[in-house]
């Protein structure tokens, strides 16, 4: 990694340069909220966005995704959807970049997922620093900082960006399209100050110590029944989560029944039939068992495999849940605080 300084006024140069080779996606306003969407120029960007409704995972594992086309006549696969046009995802916050790293463990690990891989390889990720909202607790997981998984990362120093350059592609972009200069001691000091201020500005310190042990030891605790009582089983938490990757697979036939498509769609372990097997046995038939499984998997199951929890503290689930169930509530409840009404 190396570092450059870019004047804020040069941002349109970077966006225009990107647009020569990539479809540029960035945060834009949608009513009072924000979404990642294709942009035509830097003026459309809202880099002051708090968070987006849906996380960047939509660009790597879309809500509905065709896997292959098939022919009914010979029961064979006709085509696979492995093409992925070049894209630049601009203005991604550290939590969301870290979330992609957690997705990588699953989709690029054992049994590499070719669809995800194609998108990951054809997508440039350009990050930007942020200000924590009250529901942010990325600092609890150490995902407030990001050290890998991006091409460029822009830290706002007021009138200029402190640019972390991690990939060859990122370096070439800067070289070709943007006027930058080497960093000075003053830039580094300003960067440190901004980072310190950021770290001090979280509204609440979430205590995650002993959490893996608690979530295992309190597997039969009454707290899960309380949470199950509240849960609406709507699955919104999974849909907005940048690290939830579960999916269902289904076949769709053409109108004449001659050909069809196999597609995968986002799924949620909160849905009542998620763990059901063919003859009606359901291994997690109650909402309490499903809420428990979701947290158990995220805070312990994934941790046991990859050494990290499957949460980046982005706070989207807190905004999405109509029943006020979120990691901050669950963690406190497990620590003995009960479930606040």
């Amino acid at each position: 990694m190396f570092f450059r300084i870019m004047d804020k006024l040069r941002l349109p140069d970077l966006i225009d340069g990107l647009a020569e080779s990539y479809e540029v996606i960035g945060p834009v306003a949608k009513g009072e909220k924000f979404v990642f969407a294709p942009i035509a120029g830097a003026e459309e960007l809202r880099l002051d966005y708090d968070t987006t409704l849906l996380p960047p995972k939509t660009f790597f594992t879309p809500p509905t995704e065709p896997l292959m086309g098939f022919s009914m006549a010979d029961s064979d696969v006709r085509s696979e959807s492995l093409e992925s046009p070049p894209r630049a995802l601009f203005g991604v916050h550290p939590c969301d970049i870290n979330a992609l790293g957690l997705m990588d463990n699953v989709f690029l690990g054992e049994y590499e997922d070719p669809y995800y891989k194609a998108r990951r390889e054809s997508t440039l990720v350009i990050g930007i620093n942020c200000k924590p909202r009250p529901e942010c607790f990325c600092d609890a997981w150490g995902t407030d900082e990001v050290h890998s998984g991006f091409d460029l990362f822009l830290s706002d120093l007021g009138d200029r960006y402190f640019v972390s350059v991690q990939s060859v592609k990122g370096a070439e972009l800067l070289d070709r399209f943007v006027e930058t200069r080497p960093i000075t001691a003053e830039d580094t000091e300003d960067f440190q100050r901004v980072t310190r201020e950021f770290k001090a500005s979280f509204s609440e310190k979430v205590d995650t110590s002993q959490l893996p042990l608690l979530i295992d030891a309190k597997y039969n605790d009454a707290v899960w029944e309380e949470l199950g009582e509240k849960c609406l089983a709507c699955g919104a938490c999974s849909m907005v989560c940048p690290t939830c990757y579960c999916f269902d697979v289904r076949d769709r036939l053409s109108i004449d029944g001659a050909t069809g498509e196999r597609e995968r769609v986002w799924d949620s372990c909160m849905f009542s039939n998620f763990a059901e097997v063919a003859h009606g046995q359901n291994f997690r038939g109650t909402r309490a068992s499903r809420v428990k499984y979701r947290y158990y998997h995220k805070q312990w199951g994934y941790l046991s495999k990859y050494g990290r929890v499957l949460c980046v503290g982005c706070g989207r689930c807190e905004n999405a849940c109509k029943a006020d169930i979120n990691p901050r509530v669950v963690i406190k409840a497990l620590q003995g605080g009960g479930v606040a009404q």
Binding site: E80, V106, F247, D251, R262, C269, A275, F283, K305
Partner: protein, 284 residues
């Protein structure tokens, strides 16, 4: 011997390979035994499985379902699947005829530790459709019988009409290289064998716990009781193997459906030893 494996061939692990149905045998009212041959010769030769592994079977237009392989790893070139008509895909499979083509992915998952089991006595306990994955192990042991000590097989079914592979086991009852006992919950006029749950048969058998590996497969409710019996006979927790049924949409640890405790049944199982399983929250 080729060093290529099926897994090396498939750049896309979601892509099913076409396989022809070469035989269909009606086993009971609900179960049929399918023999499949992968059409591509290279793929067919590279397909090597362990007893206890499963495949994803595609009926295009309907979907995919995970099915345990019943044939022994020692028999190459075809795959035998015992399929109960239970959901959309299995119902569609039941409507297929000999010569029809379906899709096949796999083999997936972790099977029984066959090599580790060698040199030991084996106690196999199956309930109902649980015999499907165990049959692969039984047949594999049969094909390499001299590598094993005493082999005891306990089979349970609801009624005589639901005993799978009845013909084979009826013949085996009289062999001296396998100790086979069958039992049914509800006998009919033709039944002159044991009546009651499979756990009852533990009174009838003698095992040397230090020398024995156990393997269990059946309906979820069965495991706890059978394991209790094995533990009463002083068998070690890590020598008792169980095979779990879970919904597996992808078979490769991505879709999340087969989560059991902190593991995925599709890649960490479906075969677990009891020591692992007893530490899997919500498993048994």
């Amino acid at each position: 011997m080729s060093t290529t494996t099926y897994r090396d061939l498939g750049a896309n692990p979601y892509r099913p390979w076409p396989a022809r149905i070469t035989s269909i045998i009606d086993l009971t009212e609900k179960e049929k035994l399918f023999e499949l041959r992968l059409i591509d010769e290279t793929v067919r030769e590279a397909f090597v499985h362990d007893a206890g592994q499963f495949v994803e079977v595609s009926v295009f237009g309907v979907g995919e379902a995970p099915i345990s392989i019943s044939s022994a790893p020692s028999k190459q070139g075809f795959i035998e699947l015992c399929v109960r008509k239970a959901g959309d895909v299995t119902s569609a499979l039941h409507s297929k005829q000999c010569g029809d083509i379906v899709g096949l992915r796999g083999p997936f998952g972790r099977g029984f530790p066959f090599e580790e089991m060698k040199g030991h006595d084996i106690l196999l306990v199956a309930g109902g459709l649980g015999i499907a994955p165990l049959k692969s192990l039984i047949n594999h042991i049969h094909d390499e019988r001299h590598d094993f000590g005493r082999v005891t097989i306990l089979l349970g079914a609801r009624n005589p009409g639901e005993i799978l592979f009845r013909q084979q086991f009826d013949m085996w009852k009289h062999r001296d290289d396998f100790d086979l006992i069958m039992t049914v919950d509800t006998p009919d006029a033709s039944w002159d064998g044991e009546v009651g749950l499979v756990t009852k048969l533990f009174d009838r058998i003698e095992i040397d716990p230090a020398a024995t590996y156990g393997a269990i497969c059946g309906p979820p409710v069965m495991y706890r009781y059978v394991i209790d019996e094995m533990r009463k006979k002083n068998m070690d927790a890590d020598r008792i193997y169980v095979s779990f049924e879970r919904r597996m949409k992808c078979g490769i640890g991505k879709c999340g459906h087969c989560g059991v405790g902190h593991q995925y049944a599709c890649i960490d199982g479906p075969v677990f030893n009891y020591w692992e399983a007893m530490n899997l929250q919500g498993a048994i």
